[in-house]
Symmetry: D3
Subunit: 322 residues, 6 copies
């Protein structure tokens, strides 16, 4: 598996899924293929030098490929140099003792169990409109909500990442409620907003193994898609002119916190401030932790784009400290 | 009428509508009222010094008031100092020989005639989805579209201003089409986008004499409201998954041109670039021309907020030059 | 008490502390005094028109004053117009049945109890250096830490505000720990950073009833003051070259999150990201809630400077909803 | 011709002009040359691998070269890999049946005809100073004005591009005049400003096949060069202290709209707002359309630098739609 | 004299020049005049309450006025309340024993002497073109250059301020030359650039007692005016195509250092970096020192606009320290 | 020596120190090493193609290496292609007739002499606290202060660069004192601030041949390190509560001039404005001059990152002009 490969591996045999293939031209004029490979344990980049047209045709996004490769360290990142490869068709999975689900990273939580808990939680919400709207939207997109990633690369880019991220926000919101009992906060609005704030991603992303955004996603954005989900569903359910619908729409629209980050309106409800704060913090913790995991203790991560190029120091090891 | 009052008027008698009343406390501790007055010829500010609670109760937004006042020039702007006043109730309009429509500024175009032309134009659009969507949305909000202003204060803040601004964009787009015949531009998308880009203002503003935005307007913004109009109508008409719907939504969402100006997505269609460029230019020309009209030739306007505080020089008089 | 005064009060008698006196000149050329008054129930602004030099001399910051005043509403904020006043000296407190502590707003938590809990918590921290440093700094500034506000006006500007804010961060951090158990986070660093991040304010503010920053505060800033606290204490305790000292310094220095917000370094440890995120969220919730409390349900707050001028809608009433 | 080459061409023979040669070192340590080639039908990049010093000497900017090359697709852009080449000297043009004008892209309008129309139009301007100044400056730089590009790469980078862009602005301004007949606008100032706003580029660019800016262009900028053209010419013609000269200078100086875009003054005349709006829109439409032409319908352009990195979707085909 | 008035003065008699009169309306509805007064010792603001039209007519910019007034302290700034006044016409100056030059603040250096030194210095410059251009421009505008202020309010707003500021830059440049002898710097270009960088202000300002900018100044800006001075003079002297002219133009155009500060080009010569650095530092030192002089030792200045609102602490007294 | 190598050198033999080695993978899949080489005359980049693991092990940062190499010009920068190499161990230095100090660039001033002058100057400062603090801090870090560079790459990145830069600031400050004798400036504070403003770099950098920042440097920054130096030393010397300590800390903390450049406080003392102005100018002159030296007269430098990407024109040659 990918996470077992290290700089000392020298020659490895690996079966993995191609997340993305990029055809490139070397500075010597010959072509090569960059293969972003993934299995359930992690991701790694492989390169096939001096590739032919036939290679390009065979090594397509989504294929399961078995490669013989040499390890290589480039800018402190492990890479593979492909010596030979073989595409494994679905009909031969049994022969190789593999299954499709072995080739995607999944959120490290039990999505099905937690989804049940989420539904139970929504059903316990007292406000009829919040509860009914949230429940019916989530149920309509249940499959996508449970499997899609939360982003192509910025954060939670794993199967179930969208659910994981949304559920983390809900857990975070519930956790801090006690700290702010002095304040007038409509926590049910916070909770439903946390659950729904990114729901538009079920249209914005192109599938559970999303490696690109859809045209609809690029032209509308998940914020506006989510907003029309609520608007359309409210009409369907006869809630059109209710204030609760308006508030739910607002906390989705304002969830990026600022116009410049893509929110058409900035928070004007205190609940929107809480949602956008938790959203940003959750995405940042995921991403930084993910990058820290790629370097050794004592080393610095590469420049993280979503952190305005900052690097972070890996200074701590949970196991060591316990 | 308001536009006949000048610094030499000394004492004037005026019947006007109160657009907005602001209660304030003078530095001597007594209250006074700032009255924003309007009639069909223009706007003027009046102040009632040492006002009582009874004055505050009577001089409410929307009332028609007859005042005796002295003129005053403050920071190069004409003001009125109210000596006495009388509220004129609707039942007494006849007695004073006045009609409601005498107390609002209207767009200087024949809205009804031009609306007919607009409908004819929309009906001539070849693309079925663009045509049907645009037509049915405009017709659904016909009354508001024809009477609402385009903004509370930034631009086209007159009765019919929303129509006037939208129609100007359409006229501008049609005018420049020939200059860009070399380019691949979907002009029907430009036209429908120009017509619909601000349609959400029929919910965002609080009426044809709008002096404030509605809560719904502040929490959602006209861009997102307009987007749901298209989305809802597309479902109603059975166009849900069509690319044309997507494109119309995009040019509405991107009509402010940049995230920081409140567009959740920035233009990714060339048609969106044209609409947002014409939109900005049209609003700026209106506003600057409006401010220039307030000062004499050779003088500078006050700092215009929507122009990042720039002042403009009144250097030209059409009549003089002909 | 101040929170019992409302627009219908007409004439009121009030004993309060003068937080700040501002001498101003009215547009009629006479002087007047703006008095920011406070008692344990809230704050209110009063004005003494046509004030004399003697008034200015008597009505100084910090004095306890008894006033007869008329209520007035100015821009939706209640004000008082002082008709007569009397300074109450400390020796006469008993006569008026008042005590000093009746004239300051306090954090709505039991600071002493919670301080004990905080000390217990610190003592439970396993890392020797974190624990010892945090404990000895907090104990050195115990009095100020327990009584000072967290800011002059932006947030938690009440007696005990600094403790309240720091303790809220700690509570928030402990609350979300479970959500992020997948990540490699040194929670003891987060906790000690949360406790110490604003400790420099004990020098930056000029007292528990702080109405201004000290010169030292303005020239150094609480971030750099807090940093030297740790540095000096580490030398004193013989920890000078330890990595833990370095990390504690870093999370204090980076607690504003960005250079432009006054942090000399931006977070490079994941713990700094958590502290700065919770810090910003806590201050925002306090401030917005505070402003919402000043307006009725259904109304909008004034423009909040620390929220980049945004207004917030008071849409929710906890009591109503239960 | 270049626009006939496609991914299926495999091996091609091409005669083209070298717009720019860049010497580079491959990651294997050997040199190679990047050749930006152009003929009247388009542009293409070619690479000569393992180049020698002799290659560098021969393949200079401006040379006409005949190459045998293989096609290659790199990041969705067609490239050529040069197998062999031969420089064609001017004396051999006849032998190859080629002429110099076959190796530049020209504006897709008849520059000579339209130039005549422009001159006629200028001569019809009523204001003596506007007319005389504009006419004499344009005539002084007639050759450059008719042949220079409008920019090295941002927009209208073709022979006659400067004229094309300036003329488009004039056409656009004339087209929208009717929409703004309600406003006090000195249209003759708009027209002359549109014609002259980029005239400084005749010094800023290094020729009609400009591949670089001149030192004078980089040190002064076309805005300041154009400003001195007017100033110098006004002295020459005895108009030194006229207000019209001042206004013409202003609309040139403010034509970039904002200080940060290189205008030393921001618009303070309404005419400057119109010119800078049309200027930006015209350049953007050219550039986006140009990039859209490089990708197939349904595909997205690469990131466009002058559009702040945005990509655009090619969604429309004029021919299809008619 | 103005600088002898203090808070204890109570009633004063003062003869001063009116720099600027602002008519305002008090919150009690009556008018009042704000008079910015100046004599050779300083500036002070006076207010005439309940002013009449006759007062407005008499108290015009530029008049010499004798007032009886009471002192008043407003926001820590001394003000005067005018009880009575009398305009003193030029023919009565002798009677009051006053002269025009008693009513302007002058730069605290001997302008005439230093101007002679400056001319001598320019004449010693070796480069013919730098020397001749600088000399002939300075001589052409000698009177204005020696008397105009450097700005209306930002810095050096005194008679001779333009000369003082330009000369300070030259002195500063000469002083640091030795520190940078390791670098390749064309010091004669630095010197001439320092002398000429603000010369356009002789057109931009409206006189030696400038209280406003001219229309020409607002529409062109001193940077572009200065640039045309050099361009025009170069043509006159036959230097048109010389590189020295180009360089002089560049250091003037780039003297504000950045596009956003109004420079159409940013420095591309090391000499431009030195000039813009010294320019900014000189203006800042003047302004901050000027504001520090208005407050006592130990106090903070008001917010200084040109310092992005920062206040400065008056902490030092030269005399004390010697 | 490095500065004797030029494009015509073809084959060279060079002994140099490896400042930094970067392992990279070529697009043909094989590894290569980028070697940043330095000797006392300058810096040059060399590449070893097709490098092995053994090469990587031998060619480490800090080693002295003798190479046989071919010259190559890449993007107008000279490069070397290593044909063979040999590591020279310290024990063999004599054999090759080399000494360690031959492999570092040193500041072009006599550091030891000037350090003596600096100490003498500090000792002449009248204010006891300024003098004693500055002297004892400088002496404590004498070795580092005299040898460390001022930055890894931005400016003064040579042995003794920190001293050179600090001393230049002091020289500059002393030079301009006379120009500002009209102002109330505490020059002794300026001088000590100039000397100490970057002292924290003795911890921030990793040695006199610094090619990286230390962890402590990255987590605290030199500004905060320098601040604690003063704070700690003040406690040690018993100056804890003195105003002078506060002022010294302030000018160090504010030396970057703005929050966004990493100063936790912006200047609030006029002396801080002078220090930050001189600091920025000194660093810019060094860097621009350094880049200009890499290109020929008449050519432009590459884009300089610290100059926001601007290029500079090499237009002047001191020798030529004398």
């Amino acid at each position: 598996m990918i996470n077992q490969i290290n700089a000392d591996s020298k020659l490895v045999t690996l079966i993995a899924r191609i997340e993305k293939t990029i055809l490139s031209t070397g500075n010597n004029g010959s072509n090569y293929l960059i293969l972003n490979l993934v299995d359930m344990s992690g991701r790694i980049e492989a390169r096939l030098w001096n590739s032919t047209d036939k290679d390009s045709e065979e090594l397509k996004n989504g294929e399961i490929v078995k490669i013989e490769a040499a390890t290589n360290v480039y800018r402190q990142q492990l890479q593979l140099k492909v010596n030979s490869y073989e595409i494994i068709k679905e009909e031969d999975f049994a022969k190789h003792d593999i299954k499709e689900e072995m080739f995607s990273i999944s959120a490290p939580i039990n999505v099905d169990n937690n989804y049940e808990k989420l539904i139970d939680f929504i059903e316990s919400i007292k406000n009829d409109i919040y509860r009914t709207l949230t429940l019916s939207i989530i149920k309509q997109y249940e499959v996508e909500f449970k499997t899609y990633p939360a982003a192509v690369s910025i954060h939670h880019n794993v199967i179930g990442g969208l659910f994981w991220h949304s559920y983390s926000l809900l857990m975070g919101a519930k956790a801090i409620k006690d700290v702010y009992k002095y304040a007038e906060i409509d926590w049910e609005l916070v909770y439903c907003g946390a659950i729904l704030h990114d729901i538009g991603k079920v249209i914005e992303m192109d599938g559970k193994n999303a490696s690109e955004y859809t045209d609809e996603g690029r032209l509308l954005g998940h914020i506006s898609i989510g907003n029309t989900f609520v608007s359309n569903k409210a009409i369907e359910l006869g809630y059109k002119d209710s204030r609760e619908v308006l508030k739910l729409q607002h906390v989705i629209l304002s969830s990026h916190g600022k116009n410049e980050y893509g929110s058409p309106v900035e928070p004007n409800l205190i609940e929107g401030v809480i949602i956008s704060s938790l959203d940003a913090m959750d995405a940042r913790i995921y991403k930084i932790n993910d990058e820290l995991a790629k370097v050794e203790k004592g080393a610095w991560t590469g420049r993280i784009l979503s952190e305005e190029g900052r690097s972070y120091l890996n200074h701590y090891d949970k196991k060591e400290s316990n």
